[in-house]
Amino acid sequence: MIEIFKSANYDFLGKKWFFIGLSWVLILAGLASVLYRSFDGKDHTNAFNMGVDFAGGTLATVKFRSAPDSNTLRQALEKQGVEGSKIIIQPVTDEIGQAPKNEILVRLPNEVKVERQQGQSETGAKALNDADIGKQKILAAISSFDDPSTNGKVDVNKIGSDKLKFELIEKAKLDQQSAEEAARAIVDYREKTRAGLIGDINEVKNINGVPPQIADSLGKDFFAGFASVKSAEAVSPQVGADLRNSAIVVTLVSCIAMLAFVAFRFKSWGFGIGAVIAVFHDVLVTLGIFSIMQWEINLTVVAALLTLVGYSMNDTIVIFDRIREMMRTKRREGLEKLSNEAINQTLSRTIITSGLTFLTVCAMLVFGGEVLKSFSWCLFIGILIGTYSSIYIASPFMLLWESWRATARTEKTVSQSRVASSVPGDNDSLTATSAGITPQMLAAAGISTSPRKLRKKGK
């Protein structure tokens, strides 16, 4: 049997104040970054680097025959009237063992003008132009890389198959059906064989399905452009605000649902509150790190945040379950000691599970490609933080709540017992409550403490 911990017995909860303090430091560092970046007056840093999903704007993947340096591209975009300092240009990393991609991610700030009447919400504003305005500017900018002699010709790299069909009818004088087949064949060749960009118009003449008689026309009226747009996302600002609001609502609602569910399952608000505070802690710390590192937050990152909420909750419940189970057998030991023991007993499971999940996330980070990058980073941090919080945040806050409740309850019980004569069996519940274990929790664990029930059994 290979074991990570022979018999773990660390005093986790003894150092709880140190770690709660550490968490505050992390959260405050994130907050400081948010505040600093909102007020430092620099354009290219914001409190959060919101992706186009939330901030509006355009994000396009442009494929080039050979990638231009970013300054040339920036200048070409500036000529289209985009503010240069707000353009983000980022080359796509090549995959190992694959041909160089020559792809560049281009992000433009929001160019859509919005009309917002007084008293109208951000999301109710009216867009005055179409969201694709940024995409049109990118298309115009990359067309400037083409040879001027191609002016007026049709670019087979920037055209959809149905538009190409009509161009083939008009220019190459094909009939309906063969034009449709040829257009399909050309676009298929571009997308499947050439990964989105045809290098030379002469290649098109040899594609299966393109009639040989149009070779002349292809050379004369068509050309293969220097670059093409492989994907584009364009979002108006009011849609972005809407998506952002709904992401916040969704996170809050699912946290509240979990709070209620855990409290119901464990028959104690303390467990629910401990678990949910841990989850909030994870989200806050992760968002703080995203602000510090200025990583982009988009809809996929929200999905990742929700995943890490699920993970952290999973970890916490495993420990809480163990605490509840131990209350059945060792309830006289006091809740804090029990909790510490439970954390120790589940420690190898915690380390193995987190470690394995961490491995899969690392695989995603390395091999998952550009689109999954911010998603993977979010989980990379989230798993570390989530594991940490289920040990150092969830249980301590559960204990704090329970002991606060216990003091309140003891005071009440003590003042009551002065009036009423002591009932046999009452001692039992008194010791349990002073240790932070309530009768309800014991009942949930299958233990009866109620003196009345005892008497009934006696009958």
Partner: protein, 546 residues
């Protein structure tokens, strides 16, 4: 014990085979496809079936996602103006005294009258064509005000959005996009329409087509053409029933003609009277014209009008611009044409747009996402590769750490993925990029259940229990925890599904199916395998590789 084990074996076999059949069966075929035995047994056919069964999202398959906003307030403005015009006509016709009718604001009509005794008549007249519960009626001094109620205004906006959706649907279908989705999106007051078109690599033409405003009208025209708008206005001399419109005709021979004409404000027929419109090649010269025909009601109207107006002029007006002017030579009943030197594409598009009718209000594109198929293919390859690497690492660790019991975990994991994919097919859920990420993470969660169980069994063994009872207790104790963690996550996924949009929703579906599959494999399948291993050793089995 043995009988119990056999039942378990049968249940697991049925579910496994069921999932394989769901996943690889020829279910998603075109109508009229003749299924044969080879669909189930030839490896290449099976692969093809798998590809057809799993529905990929636009981000993986490539395609266009468009959200548009209907400028629904325009519908209110248009309706107010129509009612003003109609009110004016009706009041004049019935000889009710008034000095002016105007739209003070969208949804507000003010009628000035010199005689307060006419107030009731005016109200009665207006409420013959306006719903009386939709407009608030009030008077002050000599004027009568009709104000649109909020409820009715919202109704009009909602109707405009619904109508726009229907028209967009019709245009998209006629355009021949494969498997488009058109639906209302967001809150009701947002007036948004979502259009998804898988496989449309470049949506420029579709976008133009959808936005095109095509209000076709045929109106009576004065014979005289003016060169400037001032001359035309002077000749109009304040006639409120007529107006000046610009004229631009592109003739079939390639020449064009421009100017201004005075035309009637009210059309003889309009777009709603159209039955059919098509692009037709010009007889002489190049280019295309658009020929249209009328519905029975429209052709009756048109026939009567042309019969009474032989020798007069009529104008074909498209979007407030006169496209051609012609003399009525004889009675025309059911057809006409918009002349011009269109390209084939323009003519076909105009025909299509005319057939589907005019949009009740303008639309604006507020979100556009296009993914080229080659990028989607990249994402799939990378996502699958990352999953395989992650899965491989997990399997290696489990076999190394838990020895033979690790095989249990690996089998459970494989079955889990199989059920997840079959579940996606069964519920026709769409696999998206965040979905693939969700799958990768489910691998982690599935392993967690096995780790929980194995660690529990180890604890019991350490406490000195005999193997079979350690396995039993381990499973029973871990079960409580596994159910708690899974149900909590399913509860939160349910809320993600209810309140989430787009990728968040797809993520929730994948997660929930995966978690349910995981409950089954970890608790039932893994345990059966332990039972099987123990039963082979008979009652004496004293060691277990864990």
């Amino acid at each position: 014990m043995n009988k119990n084990l056999r039942t378990r074996g049968i249940v697991i076999a049925i579910i496994t085979i069921g999932c394989l059949v769901i996943l690889f069966g020829p279910w998603n075929k075109q109508k009229g496809y003749a299924r044969s035995a080879s669909d189930f047994f030839s490896p290449s056919k099976l692969k093809q079936n798998l590809g057809e069964n799993i529905r990929l999202g636009l981000d993986l398959k490539g395609g266009t996602h468009l959200v548009m906003q209907v400028q629904a307030d325009e519908a209110i403005t248009a309706m107010t103006n129509n009612n003003v015009q109609k009110g004016k006509d009706d009041l004049t016709k019935d000889g009710i005294k008034f000095t002016g009718v105007k739209a003070a604001a969208p949804g507000q009509i003010v009628v000035e009258t010199p005689d307060t005794a006419e107030h009731d008549k005016i109200r009665e007249k207006f409420f013959t064509f306006m719903p009386s519960d939709g407009w608030d009626y009030s008077t002050s001094g000599n004027s009568v005000t009709f104000k649109l109620t909020n409820r009715y205004a919202n109704q009009i906006r909602k109707d405009a959005t619904e109508q726009a959706k229907a028209i967009i649907e019709q245009r998209i279908n006629q355009f021949g996009v494969a498997e488009p989705t058109v639906q209302l999106r967001g809150r009701e007051e947002d007036h948004q329409i979502l259009l998804q078109m898988p496989g449309v690599d470049n949506p420029d033409r579709v976008k133009d087509l959808l936005k095109t405003d095509a209000r076709l009208e045929i109106r009576a025209a004065n014979a005289q053409k003016f060169d400037t708008v001032e001359q035309a206005n002077a000749a109009l001399a304040g006639d409120t029933n007529k107006e000046v419109l610009p004229y631009r005709e592109k003739k079939a021979d390639g020449t064009s003609d421009t100017g201004f004409y005075i035309v009637d404000k009210l059309p003889v027929i309009d777009g709603s009277d159209l039955r059919e419109a098509r692009g037709i090649p010009n007889q002489q010269g190049f280019g295309f014209y658009v020929a249209f025909s009328l519905k029975p009601g429209g052709s009756e109207k048109f026939g009567t009008w042309t019969e009474n107006n032989i020798g007069n002029y009529l104008a074909v007006v498209l979007n407030g611009e006169i496209r051609s002017v012609a003399v009525v030579r004889n009675k025309i009943t059911d057809s006409g044409q918009i002349e011009g030197n269109f390209t084939q594409q323009q003519a076909e598009d105009l025909g299509l747009v005319l057939r589907s009718g005019a949009l009740p209000a303008k639309i604006t594109y507020i979100e556009e996402r296009t993914v080229g198929p080659s990028l989607g293919a990249d994402s799939i390859r990378q996502g699958i590769f990352a999953s395989v690497v992650g899965l491989g690492l997990v399997i290696l660790f489990m076999l190394f750490y838990y020895k033979m019991s690790g095989i249990n975990a690996v089998v459970a994991l494989a079955l889990n993925l199989l059920i997840l994919l079959a579940g996606l097919v069964l519920f026709s859920a769409t696999l998206t990029l965040p979905g693939i990420a969700g799958v990768i993470l489910l691998i982690g969660m599935a392993v967690d259940s096995n780790v929980l169980i194995f660690e529990r069994i180890r604890e019991e063994l350490r406490a000195g229990k005999i193997v079979s009872s350690a396995v039993d207790t381990g499973f029973n104790k871990a079960l409580v925890t596994i159910i708690d963690t899974h149900v909590t996550t399913i509860v939160s996924s349910a809320f993600l599904y209810i309140f989430g949009t787009g990728p968040v929703r797809g993520f929730a579906v994948t997660l929930t199916i995966g978690l349910l599959a995981n409950l089954f494999t970890a608790v039932y399948v893994s345990r059966s395998m332990f039972m099987w291993v123990l039963s082979r050793g008979g009652r004496k089995s004293e060691t277990i590789s864990i």
